[in-house]
């Protein structure tokens, strides 16, 4: 019996211990629940968002008018924010769609100038062009011009043709194609797509203007011509077809006089645009006006005055008009020093005589560049076959005739 009582007592103690532990834990939990807290677990959150607008990078480009007038154009920087550093980068020159050889441009001065639109023609050269058509800044200037966003600048090309060009391509139209490029100012490295400016230039050529009888005996004729270029020629001569060749004839006959004021082989001064001749003295052959570019290089008019002989024995003529030349370019543009018809007229390459003090005008600058090119026709006598004229003179009864405009057709034969 006492043994049973002992086991019961031990179980009771363990139960009491568990009960006490449970009681303490319950009291702790209750204290936690009922005690005040510090802080919150809510994790409040707030946001503020600013929307930013879109913005684009600039686009750099140049523009030139699609149909510029003359030798002037306008370059415009169409970028909105980028300053363009621009320049004419390349130049190609063609005639009839074919590139012009560098030899033809020997001595010819091509330059570009800038300014406000339409006002740069008289500006000093900003870039110069070599005969090989390499463009470089003039006078050590910076290679590029600055153009603000949206700004425009005038761009002009100036050509001062030298003897080679004048002699080989008189009256012909050159196409000058210039590419203009640009790059952005630092620190940007942007470039603009090159734009192309094409313009044309007509190589100066003199044209025959009028022919009229000025003497009562119908022997003396005044011929007149025009010369559009500002460059003064070296001098003028009048040549006539003899049936074999073109020869210099006497000029400046006084009314009804038989003696010329300027002998054959002598030149008229640069300022002259007319003279009187006696065409019947050489069989009333066709007459051309020859412009001397230098002392030894001359260019014949692309037209010829024709004459009708009134009577084979009395030297009376009537003007027949001016026809387009049928001579090939080489023969027409390279004037041989005329056959010596005067004791004062030297041969080819020798000094020539200008027949008037009015010849004090300076020779064209281009003459100083000759003859640098062995191909240039500076001292070449045309090897023209001495064929007879192929076109019959036009019988025009009037004593005063205005020539018809020259028709630029390709000649078919050398000589006359």
């Amino acid at each position: 019996m006492s043994h049973v009582a002992t086991r019961t007592s031990a179980a009771d103690r363990r139960r009491a211990a568990r009960t006490g532990l449970v009681t303490i834990m319950a009291a702790g939990l209750l204290a936690i629940f009922l005690a005040p807290t510090t802080g919150t677990q809510a994790r409040w959150h707030a946001e503020a968002v600013a929307q930013t607008p879109a913005v684009a990078l600039d686009r750099m480009a140049l523009s030139v008018p699609s149909s510029p007038a003359g030798l002037t154009t306008t370059v415009t920087n169409t970028a909105k924010a980028t300053t363009a550093m621009w320049r004419p980068a390349t130049l190609t020159v063609t005639i009839g769609g074919k590139p012009l050889p560098a030899t033809a441009l020997a001595g010819t001065a091509i330059s570009y100038a800038t300014g406000t639109a339409g006002t740069c023609a008289a500006a000093p050269a900003r870039w110069t062009v070599t005969p090989a058509l390499v463009i470089g800044p003039a006078g050590g200037a910076s290679p590029r011009e600055t153009l603000v966003p949206g700004g425009s600048a005038g761009l002009c090309v100036t050509i001062r043709p030298a003897a080679d060009l004048l002699a080989q391509y008189p009256g012909q139209t050159m196409a000058l194609t210039t590419t203009v490029d640009a790059q952005a100012s630092a620190p940007a490295t942007w470039t603009a797509p090159p734009v192309t400016w094409t313009t044309t230039y007509q190589v100066p050529a003199h044209t025959l203007a009028s022919c009229r009888i000025v003497s009562s005996n119908d022997k003396n004729v005044e011929v007149a011509w025009s010369w559009p270029d500002a460059q003064a020629p070296y001098g003028w001569d009048v040549v006539q077809w003899t049936g074999r060749e073109w020869v210099s004839i006497g000029k400046d006959y006084a009314t009804s006089s038989n003696n010329p004021g300027v002998l054959a082989g002598q030149l008229l001064p640069a300022a002259r645009r007319s003279t009187t001749i006696r065409p019947a003295e050489n069989g009333s052959g066709d007459v051309r006006v020859r412009r001397y570019l230098t002392e030894t290089v001359g260019v014949d008019s692309r037209q010829s005055f024709t004459f009708n002989t009134k009577h084979p024995d009395n030297d009376k003529v009537r003007c027949g008009g001016a026809d387009a030349s049928t001579a090939p370019v080489a023969a027409a543009t390279v004037g041989a020093v005329p056959a010596d018809a005067s004791t004062t007229a030297p041969g080819l390459g020798a000094p020539r005589t200008i027949a008037s003090t009015a010849a004090a005008e300076a020779p064209i600058a281009a003459s100083t560049h000759l003859p640098t090119d062995p191909v240039a026709p500076t001292a070449t006598i045309p090897t023209a076959p001495t064929t007879a004229p192929t076109e019959a003179p036009i019988p025009v009864p009037a004593d005063s005739v205005t020539p018809t405009p020259a028709i630029a057709t390709a000649p078919t034969a050398e000589g006359k």
Partner: protein, 181 residues
């Protein structure tokens, strides 16, 4: 039931009785006194946003383009500065929060790889309330209602080559956040 168990129950009952205090008194004494009512106000945590301004710095000169940015054309070397001010409001006992400025949504679109990540700094009024580091910052009610301006700059680098011309910095966003900790 043993005596020990009984003592345990008595102890629990005593604790409950002491902590609850809800049993009242049997004496039925009564007294009254008028006390002013206590006002309890909950805390606040919010951001008051102010208008953003944008300036364009080019060749050393700055221009306000807040209203005209879309009409601008950017070029290499340009710097856009976005100023995004807010006023954090933190009210509450022991309230703490993290203030953060996220400019990761500003430069999006094809220019992202060339423009790169914008630079971020911060300015306060009164000054010096926060370090100028890009954050985030741990803030307390001491900062409440002060103007905090996030300054985000985007530079169009010179390495943005010709092929980048005409590309667009697309619409984006700059966001402030305030999160309780």
């Amino acid at each position: 039931m043993t005596a020990k168990a009984l003592r345990g129950l008595v102890a629990v009952a005593a604790v409950v009785l002491l902590l609850s205090g809800g049993l009242g008194s049997t004496a039925l004494w009564s007294a009254e006194a008028a006390l002013p009512s206590a006002q309890i106000t909950s805390g606040q945590l919010r951001l008051e946003q102010e208008p953003m301004s944008i300036t364009l710095t080019r060749d050393g000169a700055s221009t306000d383009v807040s209203a005209t940015l879309g009409q601008q054309a950017l070029r290499p070397g340009d710097v856009l500065t976005y100023r995004v001010p807010v006023r954090p409001v933190l009210e509450g006992t022991s309230l703490e929060a993290t203030l953060a400025l996220d400019a990761g949504g500003l430069v999006v679109g094809p220019l992202k790889d060339v423009v790169g990540e914008p630079a971020v700094t911060v300015q306060t009024e009164p000054s010096g309330l926060l370090p100028t580091s890009p954050g985030p910052w741990n803030v307390t009610p001491a900062l409440s209602h002060a103007r905090v301006t996030g300054i985000v700059t985007v530079t169009i680098p010179a390495t943005a080559g010709t092929a980048r011309q005409g590309q667009t910095l697309e619409p984006g966003n700059i966001s402030w956040s305030l999160t309780q900790v």
